[in-house]
Amino acid sequence: MKKQFPSHIYELSINVRATWQAQSTSNAGSNGTNRLMPRRQSLADSTETDACSGNIAKHAHAQLAAEYLEAAGCSLCPACKARDGRRAAALTDQPDAKNLSIEWIVRNCGLCDTHGFLVTAKNASSDGSTEARQRLSKHSLIEFSFALALPERHAETIQLVTRVGDSKDEGQMLMKMTARSGEYAHCVRYKCAGIGLDTDKWRLILADEEERGRRHRAMLLALRDGLLSPQGALTATMLPHLTGLQGVIVVCPSTGRAPIYSALQDDFIPRLCALESETCIVAPFETIDTFNAAMQDLIEYTHPALPAACQRPSESTAFARNARDQLA
């Protein structure tokens, strides 16, 4: 049955079990050898399993989100326009860097607003040549877990490949790379209510609801694409085969944390479905097309909610109203 999502969303989570064949999207370096090491993670059940870092998933999502944001006409800061991964922190080299503020960044860059940034604090130099700088930061609104292979359901094949060395003298060199296949448990959480806000103080900066909606749609589009078309390292020659995608989308319409539950557990879909309530809408999917249909509904019909602290009194939650009443 098709799930009806609420028009406004505070937060959503996606808990999936994705089946990838012959992938090498996240690796642990070569350790000075000619073998590219796969990423491994010890699990609490004393097994060791294959893993893909959340960093690489977030990096790929940010690249895709930047494209969608530009296509939707959302502004990006000069650093994000150039796809500089440091985002607003890269602007500290600019001559007018002292004018940087959280308000300017959130208003003028959809990617810094959604994926977060960190401009580190700096003390003034003793000779007065450089000024002090206040720390500016925003936490990412989208969070990716490590993707962990199910211990009994993954395999690895070593592939011998040739590579051209750095210079002509080095000639051709042999490298060992791994192609890994398996079912991977992966969780993503997206706090859309934080769009356009200074989330350190939960203060609304971007009051333009249409712009908030455009940024929200760009995030969802990139999220959908990232799961339907896996990205990461070595995809130029080892693009993974996606052969299965099942899981649950959980949506919180008002202040609340969308539950996340690991797909390492075989019963993760019924357990999450059992949490369904008015404040927790659960949409399970078993195939890539049902996942796509659910995401399409979210993209077309939903809008980011405002957090309780930023709402008008008539719209806010009972807790936030009580808090305000106590202060008054």
Partner: protein
């Protein structure tokens, strides 16, 4: 600040994937992790999350005096596996103070069983603190996703909780318990401005460091990974 009648809240967190709570003073480029967050991390998470739920003025005036002074107990998950990971990260270059990309090593933990946070709160503030506990969504880094499964009124069993070495009982069977440095608020009177510092204002460090011991004994070493299993200090 009302402290007449207090009650314990116990919040169980499911940590579905890996998480990484860095040990204070361990290098950011070679980060060691603890199996659960420390008391200062819990207090800071309460402040951050309560601002999200109730807004800054209410937190500063009503909740913060309790958050800085309340008793916090942490029961780690039943089993925790820790393994090092090589990752690409940005780090601040010392001389120029610019960000550069570099490979770093950071341990990541994977847990089985819930992690429980116990707070001793005034009865009158039980509901707001319950809501704040239910809203905490990660521990350590943002990739350390967590979900609050349940909140109950329940007192902690100290022998199952993380404990400062200074308060460690004398009669405990010798075991390879996990221990490391953790941070805690300097005292129950830490000021709001010390926790939320502004540039140019010279405030004292609101944190102090102490050695803590976990009721987690080393059970297995596997390559560079280690597995710890919860073992009560009383057993």
């Amino acid at each position: 600040m009302e402290t007449s009648s207090l009650t314990w809240l116990a919040a169980d967190y499911h940590v579905p994937a890996t998480y990484s709570c860095r040990v204070p003073m361990s290098s950011q480029t070679c980060a060691l992790v603890s199996p659960s967050p420390g008391p200062a991390t819990v207090r800071l998470a309460l402040i951050r999350t309560s601002i999200e739920v109730f807004g800054l003025p209410y937190v500063k005036r009503v909740l913060f005096p309790h958050i800085r002074a309340m008793s916090v107990q942490i029961r780690p998950p039943e089993r925790v596996a820790i393994s090092p990971q090589v990752l690409r990260a940005y780090k601040v270059e010392n001389t120029t103070e610019t960000l550069i990309e570099a490979p770093v090593s950071r341990e990541m933990a994977h847990a089985e069983g819930p992690m429980t946070i116990y707070l001793e709160v005034p009865l009158s503030l039980r509901e707001p603190f319950s809501q704040v506990l239910s809203m905490i969504g990660y521990w350590g880094q943002a990739s350390g996703l967590a979900w609050c499964q349940s909140i109950q009124i329940q007192a902690p069993r100290p022998e199952q909780c993380v404990r400062s070495l200074r308060l460690f009982p004398e009669q405990v069977p010798a075991r390879p318990f996990f221990s490391c440095i953790l941070s805690e608020f300097r005292d129950p009177e830490v000021a709001w401005e010390e926790v939320m510092p502004m540039i140019g204002a010279g405030h004292k460090n609101p944190l102090r460091l102490d050695v803590y011991v976990w009721p987690l004994a080393l059970s297995q070493e596997q390559g560079s990974g280690k597995l710890y299993v919860r073992t009560s200090f009383a057993d």
